[in-house]
């Protein structure tokens, strides 16, 4: 799955702040590389405990 499709997948699932942070240099084939992605569930974070 291309990185852009990965972004869309998480956005469509309902996540906010979906960001592709970059590529990692780890290649499992000539066609694939590691990516870093972050996202948040909508709503307000509260202090744990």
């Amino acid at each position: 799955m291309p990185g852009e499709a990965l972004l869309t997948l998480w956005q469509d699932a309902g996540f906010d702040q979906v960001k592709l942070a970059g590529y990692t240099g780890m290649k499992s084939s000539p066609y694939t590389e590691g990516v870093l992605l972050s996202a948040e569930k909508p709503g307000e974070w509260s202090v744990p405990g």
Binding site: Y31, T32, G34, L36
Partner: protein, 202 residues
């Protein structure tokens, strides 16, 4: 994302992935085309102070494709789910970062990996982690349970990615974070390689 696969194809993919990771639970050598173990950790800039007192076998079984902890801090006391935890290296890092008031659960579909994770975690200097055999498509947790979900090199192996994404959203607390490292396609596959079932587990 997966509706064009037959049930027979899904079963084959699942079986081959389980076979691959049963072998990797003994040694990742030869199963991956990128650096694993300590070489992989150094290439991905995992700070050594996070893992230098881990059992050497735990570091050697690392087969991640990125450093999800580079995406943002874990806070003391947080509850973390690591999906596709393998032998438990990232779960151990998370357990260290959230501290004794925090909790970490590692999940993997491979029973051999979960057994290794329990064995190796017994020699860690903290006891705030646990491991279970489960799939991202059916997470065995109540809604709004975790502060953070991490995953490293595993989501590309999930057959029904839409279902897994919905499950991850469900178990995260409002404002909870997803920190994901995964394999992505960066160059279109040539026609003779596109849609091949073995793309899933090679």
């Amino acid at each position: 994302m997966t509706t064009d696969l037959t049930n027979q194809e899904k079963t084959l993919i699942y079986t081959k992935i389980l076979e691959k990771y049963a072998r990797a639970a003994v040694s990742p050598a030869g199963s991956f085309n990128y650096p694993t173990g300590v070489q992989g950790l150094r290439q991905l800039s995992y700070p050594e102070e996070w893992w230098r007192d881990f059992p050497p076998a735990l570091s050697e079984l690392f087969c991640g494709v990125g450093n999800p902890f580079s995406l943002g801090p874990l806070r003391p006391g947080e509850t973390v789910l690591d999906i596709g935890c393998g032998a438990g290296f990232d779960a151990a890092v998370a357990a260290r970062l959230v501290g004794r008031e925090g909790r970490v659960v590692g999940l993997d579909i491979s029973p051999e990996m979960v057994i290794r994770a329990w064995e190796l975690s017994a020699n860690l200097p903290f006891r705030n982690g646990s491991f279970q055999v489960a799939s991202a498509e059916c997470l065995p947790f109540p809604a709004r349970f975790f502060d953070v979900v991490t995953s490293n090199g595993a989501f590309n192996l999930v057959i029904d990615k839409d279902q897994a994404a919905r499950e991850i959203l469900r178990v995260l607390k409002p404002g909870g974070r997803l920190h994901l490292a995964d394999m992505a396609l960066v160059t279109p596959l040539p026609p003779e390689r596109a849609n091949r079932i073995d793309n899933w587990y090679q």
